[in-house]
Structure formats: C-alpha cells, structure tokens
C-alpha cells in the first residue's frame, strides 16, 4: 500500500477498496518495524491515528470526504498539536503538550488526515542534518551512515522510507528542500505568507514557512491545497483568493524560460551533484523549455546575512523559554537569576545556544547597525538579484545543496561548513520566494535534488514543472531497497 501514489490511495479509499483504518494501520505497522533503527519519529500516536482513521472512514462512507480524507500524515514536531507532545526536538519542550493545534494541523484534521505522529528534527529547527535533536539523530533511509538533512530530516526520512505517505515540514533556510534532496523526495517551500505560522514554534519569524513533503509533485500540490490559505491569526498571512495548486498540473513546458545562474555552479559544488543537476535541466529542456543564463551576483552575501538575521530573531523568539510558565525548569533554583540561567543552559542544546548568543550580540547596542541593519541591507540586495533575474526567465534551476547527504558526525564540530550546506536554499528564504526540491538522481547511491525557484506566487508553475519532469523520470518513485 505504501507504494501507491496519493491519487491511487484516494481512489481506493473513495471506492471502498481499502479503509483509512487499514491504511493507517499499515503505516503504524511499518513504523513499529523500522523506526527504532531510523529514529524519524519523536512521538508515534497510534490510538489517535486509528481514532481519526475511523472518523475518516465515516466521512468517506457519508460522502463528505475530500481528496485527502483518510490518508495519514506525519507532522514535524514543530507544529503544535492539541494533546500531543510538541518538543521541537528539545529537552526544553520535552514535557510540553500544547492545548491548541497549529493552523496547519487544524487544516489537515479538517481534511480528514489521521495523525501518525510527530517527526524528528534539528532542535528548534536550527540545523541542516537533524543531528542536533535532543532525541538523537535520524538516519537517512538510503544509507544509515548518512544524515537525512535538516531541519525537517525526520519528515523527509518517513516519506523516503514509506513510514508516512505525507508529511509536514518547515523551511527557514532550506529545511524542507535540503532534506528532500538528501532523501530523494519532493518538498516545496511556498511563498512566505502562503501558509499560516500560527501554532508553529517560531525559529526566525520573517523566514519560517511551512510546506508539504511528499513523494511526488502531484502529492505536494494536493497537500498544499489543504495547508495554504489566509489565517487571520497570523498577521503575515497573505490575504489572497484561494489557489488550486494542482490547477496547472498538465501544462506543457514549451516556451518556458529556465534561468541557470552561473553563481550556483561555482566553487564548492560537488562535480557529481553538478552533473545530476545539469542532466535534470537538460531533461526539462527536452520537454520544450529554453535555458537562459542569469546572474545572482550577491549569492555569497546570503549566508552571512541569514546567520545574523535568523539568530537575531531566534534570540528573541526563544526568550519565552525561561522555566517560568512551561517547558523545562531546572531543579531547585536558588533565585530568579539561577532559575533563568540553569533552565536555559540545561534546556537548550549547543547549536541553539550558539545562535541565541550570536543573535543577541548582533542586536546589542553598538553592534546593531554593523550587524543587524547591514544584514537587512544584504537581504534586500539578494532579493533584488532575484527580481532582476526574473525579468529574463520564468524560473531558476540549480542545485539544492552542494553535496549529497553527508555522514552522521561529519560536520557536527564545524558549524561553518554545516551552514554552507544551505548556501543555495538560504537566498530563497531571504527573498521569501517559493522553491521546490525534486528528486533528480543519485551520487554514490545517495539522492540528489533539482532546485526550482520561481517568482512570488509561482507555486502552481513550480509544481507543474516538477510534475512534468516526474512524468518522464522515475527518481521520485524509487525507494531504498530495505524499505520496499
């Protein structure tokens, strides 16, 4: 059953050939069988999943079901889920059970999608390998020695291993697209403001954006339809007419202008990854697209800008974890200062503490202009690069990450090299643009994705390009042998 596309599952559910309870139980069984090794889930919720599946079956029986009704989903452990632990993979929130649902969780509940559990991630979404999790690293289903990417590494791994048909992720600097690339699945980060951030534990508010992580572009389009839309509880949520993200699937790519930025194929890009990406672009060309050269001259300013701005926002966003109202509190605090100091130093992991300190420094008196304001200026320059590039092309294509999945432990002692794993994805977050990672091949048996970036609100176009590509390739349908 886990080899079916979402469309096939949906048809079988509607036809009554399978029930949601059967489908959900199938995934729960696979989780029991495989996840002890993979460590992709922080929490599995079998009772909740089955109860919701029973409800979904009733919806299916009564004819009130939608396309996704009955199809189970795994939520990244950053989405608050009423009554279920939401840890953000941190000791700080190991005891935290939200009394509310994130908007995305509400939307997918309404769609009738049973919740299988909550997936592992880098602590507070800070990382590119899912190794900074309080619950230990998630393994890459394609190679257990490799990381699944991050921060939505658990979500990417459960899709790749067939431990969930659909998963939610969030992308602040590449956290959907990079793990999608590392695990050979499809993941899209929509335009900033498309999906409500309400109930998503904030890392860097002006970057954070949720999106679907699935096997195919078609699956993502369906899921994005359920996730996106205006929410008055998020002031940065965009007030637009409802969009059917699947509407353009099936459009021809004839005449599509694909911009290939020279700067995305320079120093630091693994030659084999480059070959995979260039092959994929050639494939798109065969479908009728025209390749043009574009330039993103300020690409190298993106990582430094991001690593000032995101930590600055994070240093403030994470101030609420103070041991007073919820989350971890140290034992026997002597006084208020001791309560703050020990709760936070014991509750947060090293990478989180590093970013809080960097961010607090960048915002402090005397440094604000030199760091925070300067970084905002760079952010505008990076965004302007894209605006200019899109004057001569419809979409931009390039690599998602400079390498395939690296080994567990390989970069944990070198934060800077870890940060550079996101050098192609971060500019997209700085600009708030939509970007998608599409499985495009393998290097040393580890998957590699093609990165497609478009102008604001070009999701339907990105999804169609990915879908057309997936009509003529089968990378997205492949599964690691041991999980077939």
């Amino acid at each position: 059953m886990h080899n079916l596309t979402i469309k096939q599952m949906s048809e079988k559910l509607h036809a009554g050939e399978i029930t949601s309870v059967q489908l959900t139980q199938h995934y729960l069984d696979r989780i029991s069988k495989y996840d002890a090794e993979l460590n992709a889930y922080v929490t599995v919720t079998p009772e909740l999943a089955i109860a919701m599946a029973e409800e979904a079956d009733k919806m299916l029986a009564s004819g009130e079901a939608g396309l996704l009704t009955g199809i189970p989903v795994a939520h990244k452990d950053i989405f608050c889920t009423d009554g279920v632990k939401t840890s953000c993979s941190s000791k700080m929130l190991d005891n935290f059970i939200a009394p509310y649902d994130a908007h995305v969780v509400t939307q997918l509940k309404k769609a009738g999608m049973p919740i299988l559990g909550k997936t592992n991630m880098d602590e507070f979404a800070m990382g590119s390998s899912s190794e900074s999790s309080y619950y230990g690293p998630t393994k890459n289903p394609w190679d257990h020695k490799a990381v699944p990417g991050g921060s939505s590494g658990g979500a990417a791994a459960v899709i790749a291993a067939g431990l969930a048909p659909m998963a939610t992720g969030t992308d602040t600097g590449g956290s959907i697209r990079q793990p999608a690339s590392f695990c050979g699945i499809t993941g899209i980060k929509p335009t900033y403001g498309s999906v409500s951030r309400f109930g998503i534990v904030a890392y860097a508010s002006s970057f954070d954006q949720a999106g679907p992580m699935t096997r195919s572009a078609e699956d993502s389009a369906w899921m994005l339809n359920a996730m996106a839309g205006f929410d008055e509880r998020d002031s940065t949520s965009l007030q637009r007419e409802a969009v059917d993200y699947a509407a353009d699937l099936g459009q021809s790519l004839k005449g599509l202008k694909v911009g290939v930025p020279a700067e995305y194929f320079g120093e630091g890009l693994d030659a084999d990854v480059e070959a995979v990406v260039r092959n994929a672009i050639a494939e798109v060309e065969k479908l009728g697209a025209e390749v043009v050269e574009v330039h993103l001259p300020n690409k190298d300013l993106a990582v430094p800008s991001y690593y000032v701005l995101a930590p600055a926002e994070a240093s403030s966003n994470l101030s609420r974890f103070d041991g007073v109202r919820f989350g971890y509190r140290c034992e026997n605090p002597k006084d208020l200062q001791d309560l703050y100091k020990r709760s936070r130093s014991e509750g947060f992991g090293a990478e989180v503490k590093r970013r809080i300190m960097v961010g607090a420094y960048a915002l402090s008196a005397g440094y604000y202009d030199a760091y925070y304001l300067k970084a905002q200026k760079l952010r505008r320059m990076v965004r302007d690069d894209f605006t200019k590039a899109f004057e001569s092309c419809d979409v931009i294509m390039g690599p998602v990450a400079p390498t395939p999945a690296f080994n567990i432990g390989e970069k944990t002692d070198d934060p800077t090299s870890m940060y550079l794993a996101d050098l192609y994805t971060i500019p997209v977050n700085l600009a708030g643009l939509p970007g998608i990672s599409v499985p495009a091949g393998f290097v040393n048996d580890r998957p590699v994705g093609l990165h497609i970036v478009g102008p604001y609100f070009s999701e339907t176009k990105l999804l169609n390009i990915a879908h057309q590509y997936q009509q003529v390739t089968d990378w997205h349908t492949r599964m690691p042998a041991q999980y077939q």
Binding site: F79, C80, T86, C88, L93, F96, A98, P99, Y100, A102, R197, F198, G199, I200, V201, A202, A204, S205, S206, E232, R233, D234, S235, T236, A312, E313, S315, S316, L318, S319, R320, D322, V324, R325, F326, L336, Y340, A360, L363, S364, A365, Y368, Y372
Partner: protein, 477 residues
Amino acid sequence: MSWEVVIGLEIHAQLTTNTKIFSGSSIAYGAEPNTQACPIDVGMPGMLPVLNEAVIGKSVMLGLALNAEIGRKSVFDRKNYFYPDLPKGYQTSQFNYPIVGKGTLEIEVDGVKKTIGVTRAHLEEDAGKSIHGAVPGQTGIDLNRAGTPLLEIVSEPDLSSAKEAVAYARKMHELVQYLGICDGNMQEGSFRVDSNVSVRRPGEPLGTRAELKNINSFRFIEKAIEFEIERQIELLESGGQVVQETRLYDSENDVTRSMRTKEEANDYRYFPCPDLLPVVITEETIEAISASMPELPDAKRARYVADFGLSDYDAGVLTGSRDMAEFFESVVEKTGGKDIKLCANWMITGFSGALNKDGLSVKDAPVTADMMAGMLNRISDNTISGKIAKQVFDAMWNGEGSADEIIESKGLKQITDTGAIEALVDEVLANNPSQVEAYKGGQEKMLGYFVGQIMKASGGQANPGQVNQILKAKLSD
C-alpha cells in the same frame, strides 16, 4: 545662587478597548488572576500577535489633539528583557517609528500660559504583575494585565516646577478622557504618571535625573516632586551627587525612597517585530478620525464664555469633564436655551454640589439631564420658586421622581391665585394688629415681617412678587 528645575513626564494611558492589544482577551479590571490570559498572552509556543485595530484610531485622535505629527508608517519593535511577569521575554512596543510624533500641550499655572512639548506617544503592551505573599514562600504571576494596550506619552523636559508638572498631567488626564481614549482611573492604574526630575544651575547642562514612579494621585505627584527637588538641591549643596535611579513616593512620611539604581543602562536589543506588519495610516483615515473627534476642552471653554456669556470660572467647572459638559449641554438644549445662566448656576451649585457630597460621578448621578431640565422649566414658567426648587431637587436626588411628580405629590405648586393670596394677607394682618399700627406709624421695615409671615402661612408656595404687591396695596388702604 538659584537652582533651575527640569521635569519631564512619561504618562502611560490605558486605552479604552474591550480586548488586549494583540489578543482577544478581555481587559476588564479586577478579574481572578490569570482568568483573562489566553495562550497568546501567556506567550505559549507558536502563538502570534494580531493587532487590535481599535488602538490606532485612539492614538491618532490624541496625536491630532496635540497637533502632533502622525506616524504614517509606525513600526512595532521588541524590547527584550527577562522578567517573570513578561511572558514572551520581550515587550512589544514602538521605538524608532512611534504612532504619534512631536506635538504640544498648553498648560496654565497661576494665570500664566505655557506650551509644553510632547516628544512622542507610542503604543505598547503592558506586562503582567508579580504577586508576593499569595502563595507562601513563592511569587505568583498574574497575566491578566499582560497585553493591555497602553499609549505612552512622553513630554519634553519643559516643565520647571511641581505645579507645572501636575498642571500638565491634569491637562493630559482631562484630554484623554475627553477624547474617550482612556478612562483616566488612576487607582486602577489606567493613567500612570512617571516623573523625571533633575535640577541644575541656570545655563549648565542637564543634571542627573531621578525617576518617580507609581504615584496614583495628582496631589501626591506634586508632593513627591517637591520633596525630590528639595532632596536633590540639599544633596548637591552639601557636596553630594544625584544618582540616576528610580524612586518611590512614601505618602505617609512624604518622602521619596530609592527603589533600584540603574548601575548600567539596560540593553533592550530593540528590533522590528517580525510577527507584525508596519501600521500604515492614510490621509483619509486621519481625516475620518479628525471628523469624529469631540470638541476639546479648551475650545469648549472658549465657546461657553463667548456664546453662553458664562464667566471663565463657570466655564471651567462645567467643562471639568466631558460627562459634565455633555450633561450641561443636554440640559441647555432641553430647556430650549432660554436661561443658560440659570442652567449653569444649578449645574454648579445644585448638581455639582450633590455629586461632591455623595462622591458620585456624573454617569452615576440619580438626576438625569431630562429631570434637571424638567425642574428648570418649572422655575422658568413660575410653577415653582427658586427656593422650592431646592426642595424639588433634593427629592429628585433621593429618587422620589421627576420634578412634576414631586411638585404634584408634595403640592409644591406656587400659589398665584390673587384671591387666595389676598385671604392669606388679610389673615396675617388681622392676627398682627400692633405690627400694623407700627407700620402705619412709620416703621416700614415691618413689611418684611409681614411677607415672612405670609410666606410661612402659605407653606412657602405663595408667589413672592404677588404677595408684595397685594400686601402693599392693603396696607396703604
């Protein structure tokens, strides 16, 4: 050598909204702890602020009243610091781009007018409060107040005496209530005044200031500033130095005491709040708000003097609060504007006096504008005399009904029937033959005695003019 006093005030006015500035929780005063704190107010993970639009119009209104620049694009910032009653670890406030910019407020002290600069007014959320002692050995946190909308109004250091400072604070207090943007309740903390006080020798740079906080009456603000000025002068003259610190006023002993010293300036790491969009205010919005503004107290006072012919003093009393002014104008309207002076006199002596005696506000008064006008109309049409009116007013205040009902039930209608008055006069003259003799013998002051006796016999209801006329006619017979 003399000393120059420099005072600047920071006033926190709680805006009269139903709900908090960034959440739907009620801001009603006095609820059980933490019953008005939703997940947004508690700063729970994933919660986001949504601006209560009502605060925008209220702030702009104040800006217009102060002839201030209106921030066309104001920005919310985060002021970061740790404190148990600050749930998110930052206060959402406005730093570089406040909603109200430079403006002015005119005050008057001992007949001298002075224009005080207003630096800015910015929106922010209130913190919660720590409760000591409710739980033995621990500190409780009540987050009901967290997120209450405040407008912080900052003055220039243009105030040079305690009297000026209080005049400014009172003027601002009156203004925000007139505008209906703040209820002005100082006991409940809806209007809080922090005073920055320093002294210097004329011509020298500003001295080190002390901040006086949490004083909840104008009288105490004046006393606290006066004490603080004396303290600083004595300290400096004896060779000491003023320390920059926050001081609290102890009203029992009339002294200020050090609360905490700011050894080092706090670094609040302000930056624009990424969860909130900048507030853009268009020309149309400003025009609409301007059109909806009530008449301001200074303009009202001037109008009462010019159009109603009232004295400055009477105009001042009647515009003392927007409620009082509206009550008065309603009474004038309901009496057809026939005798505005009569209305004013009754408002000031009768109505205001009764309010003060019972410690009531205009809104709680048992006598409505309708009832007041009803009584004044009966004075104007001679149904009752001014003297009887006092009796009618007291009865209305005691809840005995409208003026007409009271006049009817108590039989207070003035006697104007000539025959009835003649009978009373005859009776009094017949009963006082020796006094009549005395009058006729030239003692004209006896006339007043007769009038008194006649009025007494009529129970005060005889028309005094008619009594005089008939009495004189009979005595000259």
